[in-house]
Symmetry: C2
């Protein structure tokens, strides 16, 4: 198959776009598509101070690479979670991230969970009942807290993550199977800061398929960590991704259309309007300010993160 | 495995209900469940004159059997569609339906499409562009028209169909993949008559799994037509049913919870309120009265059915 734009051999064929591109035109196309998404969804501008949450994986490093090429002011934030998994997952992903940022002269901030809180995510998870033996729930809580904290402290105006279409469609799929109103009414590729202690969030890769991000990282020679987090196996998100891949294989474009038609239907007024006021949480409930960290919480006391970390300090 | 209610051998184990029952308690349970659904969703009462649309398949004959046992005033309507498929599909399904009603002394009305309109569904479909080669779209249109017409002419207060949970969940699944607002805001196991020319509709089996209906028909000795309509193969509904079966196999109860949580979320106000006035269609648009048949239509002229049938009369 030949590249649509030149006579070179295509390295990827995107059935849902009926578009095949070569190793030169493909990364150009991805960069242009991301720019279009950032602008069309009013995510941020070149005036914004952007903080990219980087894990060392293909999506977040590629996103940082794209933002760098597009000339946005984008610094990176790596969160060391203290996960080993028998192959030094955290150590290796940190090494790749540092290598990536040094090669491009980019600014990388590092937040170290075991260093700061005396224990890694798996140990924190063991102390709580959240997640029924899987540390993913605690991990999400800790990452959200630290990302927001780092963005506020560093004066960043927007926090961006490398979630791709497969991630977003799988989350939507899971929340649709249970008709989770809070998610369906609120979740968005751009989340405004609804509380003084929150920073605006955006997902510039939400229209790009996971396999397209892998191809981008490979063709750009980005050395990302190939291994997934050891706790990912058997997760619901992987399960939903596989189901969606099956639908996509039968109907190219189904995954993209599922997510985009959701956004479109919501814009057309499908859902009852959720409270759009400031200081309300995902379910429209009032938000309080945590006396420990200043971030929002749904209870008028220490937030779940502060309790998680504080509980540790109280235990023997 | 033993029956939950006695010491006999169980003939079915319903994982989603954690319930195994024997050949005596199982049909009793299905009948009781259907009664509960009819009452809980205010579908109809013993005062209503009920018309059951029967195809000769397991679901509709079983439904008629259940309503008969429960003492509802339920007559049957069989629509002969003129579909052969190499095995006399319409002839055989009509024969089974007649046999069923005669054995129970029930009243059966028969509407014969080829006799009344000079051609069967496959021929009607060939003349139009609806359905891209598949007659299913034309078939649905014709059946809806005839069912409603027969219910009005016979003075029935409610029209019931044998749609089971698998049918309903598959339709919801397809409409969710495309976020079809008209369906999501309106479709319901009970549809009130929103126009003088429409009869109220209900689906008393919507909470019962397809395999449970098969087991019911078998244990009750109902001789239904085993073959599916020859045009069903490769349909979207079959595709969605298979996907849902896969999810169900991994998480027993997922199918039921998907459909029930949708109804619950809607009741809780998830969706923007669709126009609830009379004389509005599924998308909230105004409904006109067809000058040909008196049934509602979204255009101020002959309805699609009358045009479909009329077009034939004008052609050579």
């Amino acid at each position: 198959m030949k590249c649509r734009k030149c006579t070179q051999k295509a390295i990827i064929n995107m059935r849902q776009h009926k578009l095949a591109l070569c190793k030169e035109h493909y990364p150009e196309w991805i960069v242009a598509q991301t720019k279009k998404t950032i602008e069309r969804y009013h995510m941020f501008t070149v005036q914004d101070k952007v903080l990219v949450a980087v894990s060392g994986g293909k999506d977040s490093l590629s996103l940082w690479d794209i933002l760098w090429q597009l000339g946005y002011q984008a610094d990176g934030l790596y969160i060391s979670l203290g996960i080993d998994g028998g192959f030094g997952y955290s150590l290796e992903s940190k090494r790749r991230t540092e290598q990536f940022s040094q090669a491009r002269g980019l600014t990388l901030q590092i937040a170290d969970v075991p260093e700061t809180y005396g224990e890694g995510i798996p140990e924190m998870a063991q102390r709580t009942l959240r997640g029924r033996g899987k540390p993913c729930s605690v991990c999400g809580l800790v990452k959200r807290h630290i990302m927001n904290q780092a963005a506020r402290q560093g004066g960043y105006t927007v926090l961006v993550t490398g979630h791709n279409l497969d991630d977003e469609a799988a989350t939507l799929f899971g929340n649709t199977l249970t008709w989770n109103a809070g998610y369906l009414q609120r979740q968005d590729p751009v989340l405004p800061a609804r509380h003084a202690g929150l920073v605006r969030k955006a997902k510039p890769l939400f229209r790009i398929y996971e396999r397209e991000m892998t191809a981008y990282a490979l063709v750009r020679g980005i050395e990302y960590i190939y291994e997934e987090c050891p706790f990912v196996a058997g997760s619901k998100s992987i399960y939903y991704k596989e189901l969606l891949n099956q639908i996509e294989a039968d109907r190219p474009g189904a995954k993209l259309s599922f997510f985009l038609s959701f956004l479109q239907a919501r814009e057309n007024g499908l859902f009852a309007v959720a409270t759009e006021e400031e200081n309300t949480g995902a379910g429209g409930e009032a938000l309080f300010t945590c006396p420990g960290c200043g971030q929002p919480t749904t209870v008028p006391e220490l937030c779940t993160f502060c309790r998680l970390v504080g509980a540790k300090q109280d235990s023997p």
